[in-house]
């Protein structure tokens, strides 16, 4: 029996302004296995970023619960109870810290001591992401791809129980994006963090996920789940691959059409 790691049960998330309250996510239930990479596909405005932020502990949930099993201990998922790596769209590196200080900040916040073994691990991650020569630079001095790689390094160095990514590759140009995805997958394969990544790119979903969910525009309802056999592979001409791609595109399109009719 596979032990589930992350449980979302009947989660409701609301947005509130002074006069208005609206449900962004309603009664969402979801489970994710350890070491799984779940890609949530959705068009813009469907609430996928809200979901990621709720998981990251930066916005509260209205009702329901989000729990995480670690060492056979089931607890509410919070930044205090668990190690959560979060890579937002613009990477979120602190401009006033060097790449190195950015990468080590999560450890510092958790008051984790860096021993010799950890140091070697960290160096390995720097090398895998090809940022060893950038450690003393400030984010402003880096290219988009370099910032991306630094943010990925920061997330993996903290050995996250859960890794959250919000359209992490969308700001990059096509070639840099491919490289960054490949490097990411490489490091991910070595570290196997349980991952949730939201994106609107079907190709990205097929390349990076072992499970794909399509999120509707209606209150965060999950329209469709599939296990993805194409993780880490690209078959631009394979018929099955193209069929899957078309299927996902149709799922997304149905949603968009519904939106325009309303």
């Amino acid at each position: 029996m596979v032990k589930r790691m992350l449980f979302l049960d009947n989660v409701n998330i609301q947005y509130k302004t002074k006069n208005e309250t609206w449900e962004v996510i309603q009664n969402l239930s979801l489970q994710i296995k350890q070491g799984e990479a779940l890609i949530i596909l959705g068009s813009s405005g469907c609430g996928k970023s809200t979901l990621i932020n709720a998981l990251a502990g930066t916005i509260p949930i209205e009702s329901g619960y989000i729990e995480f099993v670690k060492d056979n201990d089931r607890k509410p998922l919070t930044p205090k109870n668990h190690t959560i790596g979060f890579i937002p769209q613009n990477c979120g590196l602190l401009p006033w810290k060097t790449v190195k200080d950015n990468c080590l900040l999560p450890l510092k916040i958790h008051h984790k001591r860096v021993d010799e073994k950890k140091k070697q691990e960290i160096i390995k991650i720097y090398e895998a992401l090809n940022i060893s020569h950038l450690l003393n630079k400030y984010p402003k001095e880096l290219s988009g791809g370099q910032v991306q790689r630094a943010a990925i390094a920061r997330a993996f160095i903290m050995k996250p129980d859960l890794l959250l990514m919000d359209e992490p590759f969308s700001a990059l140009d096509a070639i840099t994006r491919e490289e960054a995805r490949e490097l990411f997958l490489n490091v991910w394969n070595q570290n196997k963090a349980t991952t949730i990544l939201v994106t609107h790119s079907i190709e990205e979903a097929l390349y990076l996920g072992n499970r794909i969910a399509v999120m509707g525009t209606e209150k965060g309802e999950m329209k469709y789940f599939m296990d993805n056999p194409y993780l880490g592979k690209s078959y631009p001409d394979d018929t099955n691959y193209l069929n899957t791609k078309r299927l996902l595109r149709d799922m997304l399109k149905v949603e968009e059409r519904k939106e325009t009719v309303e």
């Binding site: 990251a56 959560i84 979060f86 613009n90 916040i109």
Partner: protein
């Protein structure tokens, strides 16, 4: 290194051109109020016999304490105003109204309440600087990208860790800029606040020489206070260069 040379060149150029204008003024006017600059510089040794260093230290002490108090009060208030709408609603009208009030106009009140000694002088310094600090801190906290907080919050950072790692570094460049501007004002106000209740300070030195019709010493005082202002300016520039490398 190049930058130091460039700044030095700028300094010398500015220094010479001001003195040139002064010299021309001396040539075209026929009054002892504008003495020959060369004669003034020849007597610059007076600063040693007049113990100018002590005057400078007194002036710096008044500015320094005023600045320190403004930072200690202004930074937390600015941050609170940015974080809490409620506090902003209460304090903003006060700041908005108080900011443009010429603080030297409050000098009589400060003197009556706090006496003629350093208390009233420092309070005026404080008032001159603190509004600038509050406004610049509040505005730069507003400009911080929320994502930066979210990332370190998801790493489990406490409120204090968020202020230490995100808020304070983020406000630093703009804070230093506003301190630089308000220090300029503070130096010019020395002239007023050191005109009473003390026999020390560069402002006192100028007024003392003035009342004795000792124009050479008066000019020496003016030159000293100018160099002091310039040095404070340069010091903040230097600090800003060192502390905000990431911002260049």
């Amino acid at each position: 290194m190049n930058k130091i040379i460039r700044n030095l060149k700028l300094f010398i150029q500015g220094f010479l051109s001001i003195n040139l204008i002064w010299f021309i003024g001396y040539l075209v006017s026929d009054t002892t109020v504008i003495p020959n600059p060369i004669y003034v510089y020849k007597n610059f040794g007076n600063i040693l016999t007049d113990h100018m260093m002590i005057h400078i230290l007194y002036s710096l002490k008044r500015i320094g304490i005023g600045l320190l108090l403004s930072l200690l009060v202004g930074i937390p208030i600015g941050i609170l105003m940015a974080y809490s709408q409620k506090i902003n609603r209460i304090l903003y009208p006060f700041i908005y109204f108080g900011y443009p009030i010429p603080k030297t106009a409050l000098l009589p009140i400060a003197m009556l309440l706090l006496g003629m000694r350093d208390g009233s002088k420092i309070v005026i310094m404080f008032l001159v600087i603190v509004f600038q600090v509050i406004v610049s801190v509040r505005d730069s906290v507003y400009n911080i990208d929320n994502v930066l907080y979210q990332v370190i919050q998801s790493n489990g950072a406490s409120r204090w860790q968020m202020i230490w790692h995100v808020t304070l570094p983020a406000i630093l460049p703009q804070l230093l800029t506003s301190v630089r501007v308000s220090l300029g004002a503070a130096v010019s106000i020395l002239f007023f606040v050191e005109g009473y209740g003390t026999t020390y300070g560069v402002g006192y030195y100028i007024q003392d020489a003035w009342s004795k019709i000792n124009y050479v010493d008066m000019y020496i005082g003016i030159i000293t206070i100018s160099i002091m202002g310039f040095s404070l300016f340069a010091l903040i520039d230097y600090a800003s260069d060192k502390l905000c490398k990431w911002n260049r």
